[in-house]
């Protein structure tokens, strides 16, 4: 086998082996088939959940919360990060705040977010936005700081003013770092939204998992888990596509 097909084989082998062991142990009742239903039995459950129980609208509800929160958190995050990278007083002023808030498990601020934004959709969107805001800001800042000083000289020499410097040097120069931050933030957003939906939602993929666990519909719970994994994977692919368009000089 050449390297490429070996890679493909190994990529598939991990998950396949896990599913196979799980399937066999469950069928032989080494592990409880009720709490650990065989993967092959989940398929029918999934079809039924999509058809009869509106699983699709739970998925779109979660995706929408993540997307909206992502936009609301990323745009100001990039702006603050640019400011922190460009002006040292801004950097020093925000750094302790950013480091402290960055370290708090974001789900812990859910009560505060609900107090501030109510129990409706807005609080779910805002907790995603708040969770990723400083992460994006810190990535953007490090991206700006990593830009070679020579580019500053070149732009000045060619007549760029301060504003043009931000738009034509600081922003594009920090885009790769911004995307690194967004990739990290995407994982965080999924964790936060599932946690939030466990606690304070009437729909969403986290709600599906928690709700079914509480009434011991274990198969349905597993379907929710698997869908969550697939959502993370799909969102990463989507970000790859956006990145290829946003950073064309990197992708060739």
């Amino acid at each position: 086998m050449n390297r490429r097909s070996t890679e493909l084989f190994l990529t598939i082998a991990g998950p396949a082996l896990l599913l196979l062991v799980w399937e066999v142990l469950s069928r032989l009742e080494v592990i409880s088939p009720f709490y650990w239903p065989a993967p092959s039995k989940l398929w029918g459950t999934a079809v039924e959940m999509f058809r009869d129980r509106g699983l699709w609208s739970d998925i779109t509800a979660s995706l929408w919360r993540i997307f909206a929160g992502f936009v609301i958190g990323t745009v100001p995050g990039v702006l603050l990060g640019l400011a922190m990278g460009l002006w040292w007083p801004v950097r020093i002023f925000f750094m302790p705040l950013a480091s402290a808030i960055y370290a708090i498990p974001k789900i812990a601020i859910l009560p505060l977010v609900i107090i501030a934004f109510g129990i409706g959709e807005l609080s779910k969107i805002m907790i995603v936005a708040i969770s990723i805001f400083f992460m994006i800001a810190l990535s953007t800042m490090s991206g700006v700081l990593a830009i070679d000083d020579q580019f500053h000289d070149v732009a000045t020499n060619l007549g760029a003013n301060r504003w043009q410097m931000i738009v034509t040097v600081a922003l594009p120069g920090s885009l790769p770092a911004i995307f690194t931050g967004m990739r990290l933030a995407l994982g965080f957003a999924l964790i936060v939204i599932v946690g939030t939906e466990f606690l304070a939602a009437k729909e969403g993929i986290g709600f599906v998992i928690w709700q079914n666990y509480q009434i011991l519909r274990i198969k349905e719970m597993f379907v929710g888990l698997i869908i969550t994994g697939l959502m993370g994977w799909a969102m990463n692919l989507a970000l790859d596509v956006v990145e290829r368009y946003a950073i064309p000089w990197r992708s060739q």
Partner: protein, 274 residues
């Protein structure tokens, strides 16, 4: 074709170049170890339309001098004046040392950058960029990214980018330093062809004596620690020149020797053995 373009681009007026006057200029940097005197009492003058080369060892403050003339740095003492004809504002562009093309812009975008910053609309700026890319022999690469082309091509783009704002003064900081020998020869000849009768004043910094003699009307020899102008050499070769011609010229070896003897002392004193 390229000659016609050249005239269109640069509107060659022999009297249009900038007169550069550097007087009694020092540049002192503050560091944790104390003061570092990068330049001490530098005096030089470049006449309008002149191709002036500054040759010196590494770390002699050549780049600092060029940056100050470009207005990117300020002298500690002394004065630097760029005098344009008819009292108009003197413009300069710098070809920087190393990899300084914006990686996030295509070659066209890089060359169009200066005009765009000066308020030229995008379509016109790109048109000018394409013409300049053709002038430096890079037609067909307009949409390439800097990382996709060779170092020699990148330096051509840097030159085109500096020319795009049609500056009265062209500052070049070891632009061919990182190139292999053959590519360097070709780019030296191309630079002379493009400079031609554009009337632009050129200040060119290098550590290569041969390059200095190949390009310059005059060569200033700079010494290190602190940097100052130690010697001035007039280059007697006519134009257009080629490297083979000037190497065969009986005046070449004595001039080379004259510059090298000044430099050698300095390199042995300060640079190579420290």
């Amino acid at each position: 074709m390229t000659l016609a373009l050249k005239h269109e681009q640069m509107t060659g007026h022999p009297e249009r170049g900038v007169h550069v006057v550097v007087r009694n200029t020092d540049r002192v940097f503050e560091s944790k170890q104390g003061e570092v005197i990068a330049l001490s009492n530098v005096n030089l003058e470049a006449k309008p339309g002149e191709f002036l080369v500054i040759v010196g060892p590494s770390g002699c403050g050549k780049s600092t001098l060029l940056r100050m003339i470009a207005g990117l740095d300020q002298p500690t003492n002394g004065s630097i004046e760029l005098l344009a004809p008819e009292g108009k504002h003197a413009t300069n562009s710098m070809v920087f040392h190393g990899r300084t093309l914006f990686p996030w812009l295509t070659l066209r975008g890089n060359v169009a950058y200066g005009p765009k910053m000066h308020g030229v609309n995008a379509a016109e700026a790109y048109e000018r960029a394409d013409e300049l890319l053709e002038l430096v022999g890079l037609r067909g690469f307009e949409r390439s990214w800097p990382h996709q082309i060779s170092e020699g091509m990148r330096q051509r783009v840097s030159l085109a980018r500096a020319l795009a704002t049609d500056p009265d003064l062209l500052l070049m900081d070891e632009p061919f330093g990182a190139l292999d020998e053959q590519t360097r020869y070709i780019l030296q000849e191309e630079l002379l062809r493009i400079w031609g009768d554009s009337g632009k004043t050129v200040l060119f910094v290098t550590h290569s004596i041969e390059e200095a003699l190949m390009l310059g009307d005059r060569v200033l020899v700079m010494t290190a620690r602190p940097g100052h102008i130690a010697r001035e050499v007039s280059v007697p070769f006519g134009r257009p020149r080629t490297l083979t011609e000037i190497r065969a010229n009986p005046a070449f070896a004595p001039l080379f020797q004259e510059i090298w003897s000044t430099l050698r002392e300095e390199v042995e004193r300060g640079g190579a053995f420290s």
